[in-house]
């Protein structure tokens, strides 16, 4: 008998006939550092058409490069196929901007099979030139569906969280370097005409002002912010140390945070202080310890034995509120909390699958939330029936989904079980209203037997900017925040060097800010030239402090140059329509910072 080896492979049982037809989507995320098999027997051979003295281009080392039309060019990592032929493609900006999966951009491939579209829809898309689809109504509907399917996918979110998690574990830049970098940036802005603030340059004081959240009721609160947010207010604000945008937890590890007032002395006027989590996570243990100027909050996720790994990553929002004497508005501080599984997740004990299944259940973390106008919601399900029970024509077993909704019934789609696991995709269809609660019933119907499970889904509003009324005393912060990270040799495998792995030639890189993380500047602490320079200083018996001072100076200047490169890129992006060809490529930026680092090291060698 022919069988298919186990992989995630989801297919639908029934297809509605309305609209433009159907598309099937395949998403593949490659392992980090794994390149595709090269073109057979061609990579080691000199091309027959090469000139004798021709310098052949390097092969790109990004994981997806072997699956692109041409490495380094044409980042066509999302392709649209008709009869298996690529007819349209998107580059990885779709992954970064639309799916918000920045750290998967060099590892992710999306294949959209358009064979299920109706002939008239295909005819509208296809052009005589065969050069991409016509970007009309059908195309727009196609794009919306691709984004809605992938944006809420829990597996993609988990992989993105894991990637973020690894980057957050890099060693942070030390204070001396940060101080020097701050000084350089401040000096830089002395002459600057304009400084952008806010989400585009998220950081320790500005990252959350527009990110919103499901507050139970609209209420004026005071948060730290800059002059672009809300109206002026007085009094203290809450602050957290260490100030991180996202609090990351591993099961059974404890993370300690100090929440205090700014200014510190205001804590003496505290009337009420509370810490809540939205949504509540019952396994999250919170230990609060009062201190003179604040409170220490220790978070521990106690993983229960029966926790299903499908529930990871678990996300919630820590919300600290405080009332201070003489100030009627509550003070609010919010941070995202992400609980991810330990690095090595033991494979789940396989449930023996049966010819006569006994249960079906929902394994997604509840409550399930459907965001109005948001992406599809993926609800994970499991049963103990053999996968082939729902194959065949007609199948021995079938699934039935019904829902009770006060308004419209959202379309739902079931994937085919693989090893007993499958998903229900719920579309956030037009007409759903925030505040509604929808009941979904899922039945597995077999010979003389019906298994059933159900869940409730809450329809919620999309995040909107919260009304705030204060800014940090002392005025706005002009220096856009950043996160400085050192990459050591043992971390060269991370693909944070302009999307590739690090080498001894690379000096640094940056990752642009997003709503969850600030501008991140990476410095290769073990770059070959820098290591040699450091060794030469040691050989000359320089004092430890002298060596540190010089290395710090180098690091601060490289970081500052990266900061300026980011600023330049942002300016070009702001005028992208007119100057798209001026946008520096990652390869150009990589070369530039290599040159700068080489110059700095050489300069230090000759001027010491």
């Amino acid at each position: 008998m022919t069988t298919i080896n186990g992989q995630i492979d989801k297919r639908l049982d029934s297809v509605p006939a309305e609209g433009h037809g159907t598309i099937a989507i395949r998403v593949v995320v490659l392992q980090k550092g794994v390149a595709a098999a090269p073109a057979p027997a061609t990579t080691d051979e000199t091309p027959v058409d090469a000139q004798p003295d021709e310098i052949l281009p390097e092969m790109d080392k990004r994981p997806v490069s072997g699956f692109l039309e041409e490495s380094k060019r044409g980042k066509q990592c999302c392709v649209f196929l008709i009869n298996g032929q690529r007819q349209h493609s998107w580059d990885n900006q779709f992954i970064v901007r639309d799916l918000e999966l920045k750290y998967l951009r060099n590892r992710m491939i999306v294949v959209v099979d358009c064979d299920g579209l109706k002939p008239e829809a295909t005819a509208e898309l296809m052009q005589g030139s065969r050069h991409q689809f016509y970007e009309g109504q059908v195309y727009d509907a196609l794009a919306v569906r691709v984004v809605a399917t992938l944006k809420g996918d829990p597996d993609l979110r988990r992989l993105e969280e894991e990637a973020e998690d690894e980057i957050s574990s890099l060693q942070a830049g030390d204070e001396a370097v940060k101080a020097a970098l701050d000084q350089l940036i401040e000096a830089h802005h002395e002459a600057a005409a304009h400084v952008h603030q806010g989400q585009s340059q998220a950081g320790d004081v500005s990252r959350d002002e527009t990110s919103g959240g499901p507050l139970p009721q609209p209420k004026e609160v005071v948060i730290p912010g800059d002059s672009s947010v809300g109206v002026a207010a007085s009094g203290p604000v809450l602050q957290m140390r260490p100030d991180v945008a996202t609090i990351r937890l591993k099961p059974d590890d404890t993370r300690r945070l100090a929440i205090s007032a700014k200014p510190d002395a205001a804590w003496r006027g505290l009337q009420h202080f509370g810490v809540t989590f939205d949504p509540p996570v019952k396994e999250l243990q919170v230990a609060r310890t009062s201190q003179i100027n604040g409170e220490e909050v220790a978070l521990t996720f106690a993983e229960p034995d029966d926790l299903d790994v499908d529930e990871y990553p678990i996300e919630t929002v820590l919300r600290a509120t405080a009332m201070f004497e003489g100030h009627p508005e509550p003070r609010l501080l919010e941070r995202r909390v992400v609980i991810t599984p330990p690095k090595i997740v033991p494979p789940p004990t396989p449930i023996p699958l049966k010819d006569d299944p006994t249960f079906i259940r929902v394994t997604s973390r509840q409550p399930i939330k459907i965001l109005v106008g948001g992406p599809d919601v993926h609800v994970k399900l499991r049963w103990d029936g053999k996968d082939e029970l729902i194959a065949g024509n007609p199948p021995a077993w079938s699934f039935r989904v019904t829902c009770e909704s006060p308004s419209v019934e959202p379309p739902t789609f079931l994937t085919r079980p693989v090893n007993g696991r499958f998903e229900l995709l719920v579309q956030a269809t037009v007409g759903l209203k925030a505040g509604e609660q929808i009941k979904f019933d899922i039945e597995a119907v077999g010979p003389g037997k019906t298994l059933a499970t159900a869940f409730l889904a809450d329809v919620i509003e999309p995040p909107t900017p919260r009304k705030v009324s204060s800014k940090v005393s002392g005025g706005s912060q002009r220096r856009p925040p950043y996160d400085l990270r050192y990459v050591m040799r043992n971390g060269w495998g991370e693909e944070t060097c302009w999307g590739e792995q690090w080498t001894g030639e690379d000096s640094g890189s940056f990752e642009e800010p997003n709503p969850r993380s600030p501008l991140t500047i990476f410095i290769n602490h073990d770059m070959d030239l820098l290591t040699t320079y450091r060794d030469s200083l040691l050989a000359k018996k320089h004092a430890e402090s002298t060596i540190q001072q010089r290395i710090n100076r180098y690091t601060a200047h490289v970081a500052f140059h990266l900061y300026q490169m980011y600023e330049k890129k942002r300016q070009v992006q702001a005028h992208a329509a007119e100057t798209v060809e001026d946008m520096p490529s990652e390869q150009q930026m990589k070369d530039e910072i290599r040159r700068v680092a080489r110059t700095l090291v050489k300069l230090m060698e000759v001027t010491q």
């Binding site: 008998m1 022919t2 069988t3 298919i4 992989q7 995630i8 492979d9 989801k10 297919r11 049982d13 309305e18 609209g19 433009h20 037809g21 159907t22 598309i23 099937a24 395949r26 998403v27 593949v28 995320v29 490659l30 392992q31 794994v34 098999a37 073109a39 057979p40 027997a41 061609t42 051979e45 091309p47 027959v48 058409d49 090469a50 000139q51 281009p57 699956f67 692109l68 039309e69 490495s71 066509q76 196929l81 009869n83 298996g84 032929q85 690529r86 590892r107 491939i109 294949v111 064979d115 005589g128 030139s129 065969r130 059908v138 509907a141 399917t149 597996d155 993609l156 379309p411 995709l425």
Partner: protein, 363 residues
């Protein structure tokens, strides 16, 4: 009544066709053409309504592809060098499917046609979507399916040829499909905008324009075709041959693409079945595009063609072989197959490989 111009007054047909099928450079093609009496293009202006006007009996003439003087706009469709090759390859896949379909109809004239190209591939060759091949287990049935796929790939070949002295590329696309009888070549392989495929949902293209874009990026193209002997339906057996070139009329801006014809109605030169047998030409079609313009190229075309074709034909309905300027072939199953193949690399398999069910669009 104009008689078709024959090759035999000028050349020995068997020898000529033997040389013609080896032409891989502009020099080779020019040498072939030099043996024939061809009316210069400035002496014969094709008139759609009266093609015999100005025709010189006993000579070959250049006739616009698709019998349409303004054909350049329909042929110059390529935006990247790899696309015309992919289009030609698709034509080859269709020829293999059509061969199977016509044989099915011969055996069972009322049989219903497959509804999609993939449906046809499943029916005639027993192949699943190629991206599923690596997921098959090691059973005998799976091995048989893989063997079928590999054997099918041998019936469709893409060759990249490089002439060192001329510094010139040629791209050949050869299929062992249904082929065309000589009298039908101008109405099928050299047509534009008219179609014999519209009522055949199991074929891919419709207007037959994609493949012709390869002519626009080549100095010369030539084609030979021979119909499968069991599907001649009364047509005489033989091999049709012609050359396609880009013509820039003096003093005019309407350049066009023309092929060598032996009759005002568009017939191409041909040789008899015996001469074709002597030259070892079997059924199928071979297009060779000479002086192929790979753009900036200059390096690594031989490297890039494999990934480029795998990307453009991401999950092709049939596999094919590519000879990238070397004597041994590689098989192209598409990137969909290559991605599935990663899973067999154990711990280095993909972190995620997920196929979503068909999603309704625009509801």
């Amino acid at each position: 009544m104009v008689e078709p111009t024959s090759l035999s007054p000028f050349v020995e047909p068997a020898e000529f066709i033997s040389s013609a099928i080896r032409a891989a450079t502009s020099r080779d093609v020019e040498a072939l053409l030099a043996q024939l009496s061809i009316t210069p293009d400035e002496h014969y202006q094709f008139d759609e309504l009266n093609p015999e006007s100005g025709w010189q009996p006993g000579c070959f003439h250049w006739i616009p592809v698709g019998r349409e003087r303004g054909n350049a706009g329909r042929i110059k469709l390529a935006n990247q060098p790899v696309n015309p090759i992919a289009e030609r390859t698709i034509n080859g896949m269709e020829a293999l499917i059509e061969l199977a379909r016509q044989r099915e109809l011969t055996a069972a004239p009322t049989s219903i046609s497959p509804i999609t190209p993939r449906d046809a591939v499943t029916r005639y060759f027993g192949l699943p979507s190629l991206d599923q091949l690596p997921k098959l287990d090691d059973s005998d049935q799976s091995k048989k399916i893989r063997t079928i796929a590999r054997d099918l790939a041998r019936k469709l070949r893409v060759r990249l040829l490089w002439d060192k002295s001329a510094r010139e590329f040629a791209v050949a696309v050869e299929d062992d499909g249904i082929g065309q009888p000589p009298a039908a070549i101008h109405r099928t392989l050299l047509s534009l905008g008219s179609t014999t495929k519209a009522d055949k949902p199991y074929l891919i293209g419709v207007f037959g324009q994609g493949g012709s874009s390869a002519c626009a990026v080549s100095k010369f193209s030539w084609v030979i075709s021979r119909r499968a002997p069991d599907l001649l339906f009364g047509e005489p057996d033989g091999v049709g041959w012609t050359v396609i070139r880009h013509i820039f009329p003096k003093g005019r801006r309407d350049d066009y693409f023309a092929y060598l014809a032996c009759h005002p109605d568009g017939l191409v030169p041909s040789v008899a079945a015996g001469d074709a047998d002597a030259a070892g030409i079997h059924h199928g079609t071979r297009f060779v595009h000479i002086g192929y313009d790979f753009g900036r190229g200059g390096s690594a075309i031989t490297r890039q063609l494999f990934p480029a074709l795998n990307h453009v034909l991401y999950n092709p309905i049939l596999p094919f072989e590519i000879y990238a300027a070397r004597p041994t072939p590689d098989v192209i199953y598409g990137n969909g197959y290559r991605l599935s193949l990663l899973a067999s690399r154990g711990t280095h398999g993909p972190a995620l490989d997920k196929i979503f069910p068909p999603q309704p669009v625009g509801v």
